[in-house]
Subunit: 353 residues, 2 copies
DNA sequence: GCTTCGCGCTATAACGTTCTAGAACGATGG
DNA sequence: CCATCGTTCTAGAACGTTATAGCGCGAAGC
């Protein structure tokens, strides 16, 4: 209750607590860890002493002594909003599994190699990489050292675990939805070389094909950002499809903004579908119809896989876990206007597969 | 060059390197730290052995042994885009000062108290808190234990260092700019209880006062998010000021979106100024005139202050460092239309100071 | 030739924790 | 009364690193 004035100088250690409680150091350790081997009365006394001295265990020393550190390293991009959702999920999943997280950010001035290097020094037992841009060969080298789980990007290598959204299926959902509404001229704004972009492009093509609309395919170069979307919108205005699926929500926001500013009503003149269900899409004045990635499930599986590898249950199922997304229908999609439904989409530019 | 197959089992330690190089363990330590006390020939030999074994120093053990950990804890919000910029800056500043950073995120499921607690266990020497919501009393308790630097929020307590943008001055810049353009009916969309909101509100009032426009003050309740901005926009449409300063860029984006959708031209019918110069504002299709916070300078000062405290130069200047912002003029501000410049703004709602 | 250096290196002890043995003790069982 | 056991505790070592002290040796100074 009456916590001692925390001295600015030396940190209070197990030895301090032991001295005050009149017991040995290991016994204090036993009490602090809730390990068996101490009487109820002693526990009480030790806990009181610890409380009074404001004792905090030193995780460095603890991990040094233990064979296991129970520490999972996470590399994330500090700019990418969706990584925020993933980090949140990872914290709760790790918490439940009784693991700790060590965060290492990728910034404009700090590349993935540095981020990983610092985690290696911290003695993490496993690595979770969010949408890494590292070449597969380096990922494989890492995976030879320790369990590596890559999130949100496919990796063709036996040693690397992958948890990702079924990007192709996401575009099937989007296209199916638009076809159900009556659209036939459906364009796609591409993500270029971004993680997942190739899969989404493939899903778009497959879905059109499945509906017998393969010859209507129109792929406009885009990217990850609002600016990329704005640029793509100008091409869309020229080509005038009745609907468009966009690589992600940020890009879709750029598309929306330019379309509306240029007098193209959404969803009246053109329907728009995003990808991610980021907080952007949920904004009431945007109300973007979008493909939602299940961040909670993805992160839970990523942590579960790391834990399984570490606990030796390496016989676990599949190396690559592909999570189905789901469609969130909001206000940017509707049936095409009758007068637009007929005319064929003009082909502007098609990126090669 | 030919790095040994990294054994999945035990980690390679100084002892392994020492054995291979045929020297003692402390000597390897000396070489790895580039400390004086080893001949050039030995250095070469040891480095080669370390390389071959793929040795990585164990930062836990290192920090345990050293009196200093040279570790600075950072608490940041995983959702807030501006925190991303700040974290980037902190990394480079810490790097230059030869300190390491330990990141601890605040998420919907992990409050600031937990974030701080985990950093304390990691044995950080100082804490940098980005826009914390913790009560001043708790900040003061922390500051009694270790140097605490709060960024982007004023704190009235002797023990806590503060580095923040001069929010009031930022609104002076914004209002001056608008007045220069010829505006007299300038509204402000408020940030409520968000960090910095009170200062910006005050700056807005002072600036209007300074230009003899105090009786034109119009403060519309807002918030931090696009949705808050969208709601505020509806009030603005009713009140019809010719210009508006908005709490931050996200909120301003919401304002812009609704204004344009409702047929209010920006900047034709209404000028809009944001705050933060976030990536949002820089987007070419948004091109928001905004008050820029100097993230690089803020983070450099925050780290410098932490280092000064730790090195004992506590005689350092001011406890609170207030960084002047600057105005970035883009495309959302212009002179008011002649027919609008005359009529007085109607008062909709004024939040109490 | 003896001290006095300085240099390159090693031995030993820490840092704060947890693990492994084992000691002290009363209770139980024959 | 002695052996056995379980409980509660302590002594000592260990994790991987770095700080401190000191050793051996050739060079310089008297």
């Amino acid at each position: 209750m009456t916590e001692e004035l925390p001295v600015r100088g030396r940190r209070t250690t197990l030895a301090d607590v032991a001295a005050r409680a009149g017991v040995s150091v290991p016994l204090v350790s036993i009490v602090m860890r809730d390990a068996p081997g101490a009487s109820a009365a002693t526990r009480e006394r030790v806990r009181k002493a610890a409380e009074e001295l404001g004792y905090r265990p030193d995780s460095r020393a603890r991990m040094l002594r233990r064979s296991r550190t129970r520490l999972i390293g996470v590399v994330f991009g500090v700019q990418h909003p969706f990584h925020g959702d993933l980090v949140s999920g990872l914290y709760t999943a790790a918490d439940a599994a009784d693991y700790e997280l060590a965060l290492s950010a990728v910034t404009p001035g700090r590349d993935e190699r540095r981020a990983v290097a610092s985690l290696l020094q911290d003695r993490c037992e496993a690595l979770i990489l969010l949408g890494p841009a590292l070449p597969t060969s380096e990922l494989a080298d890492l995976a030879a050292r320790m369990p590596v789980i890559v999130v949100a990007r496919p990796v063709r290598n036996r040693a690397v675990d992958v948890v990702r959204t079924d990007d192709a299926a996401g575009l099937h959902l989007a296209v199916d939805h638009l076809v159900d509404l009556g659209h036939t001229r459906i364009a796609h704004v591409d993500g270029g070389r971004a993680p997942g972009a190739a899969e989404r492009r493939r899903g778009y093509r497959e879905a059109l094909d499945h509906h017998g609309l393969a010859d209507q395919a129109l792929i406009v170069p885009g990217g990850l950002t609002e600016d990329d979307g704005a640029a793509a919108a100008r091409e869309l205005i020229a080509a005038r499809p009745t609907a468009v699926t966009v690589f992600n929500d940020r890009c879709a926001t750029g598309v929306l903004d330019v379309l509306r500013r240029e007098g193209v009503a959404v969803p009246g003149d053109m329907s728009v579908v995003g990808f991610d269900d980021s907080s952007l899409a949920r904004l009431s004045h945007v109300a973007l119809t979008t493909v939602a990635q299940d961040a909670g499930r993805i992160t839970a599986l990523a942590v579960a896989r790391a834990v399984a590898r570490l606990d030796g249950d390496a016989a676990a199922d599949e190396r690559e876990q592909v999570i189905p997304p789901h469609l969130v229908v909001r206000s940017t999609t509707a049936a095409p206007r009758a007068d637009l439904a007929a005319a064929p989409a003009r082909r502007v530019r098609t990126s090669s597969a």
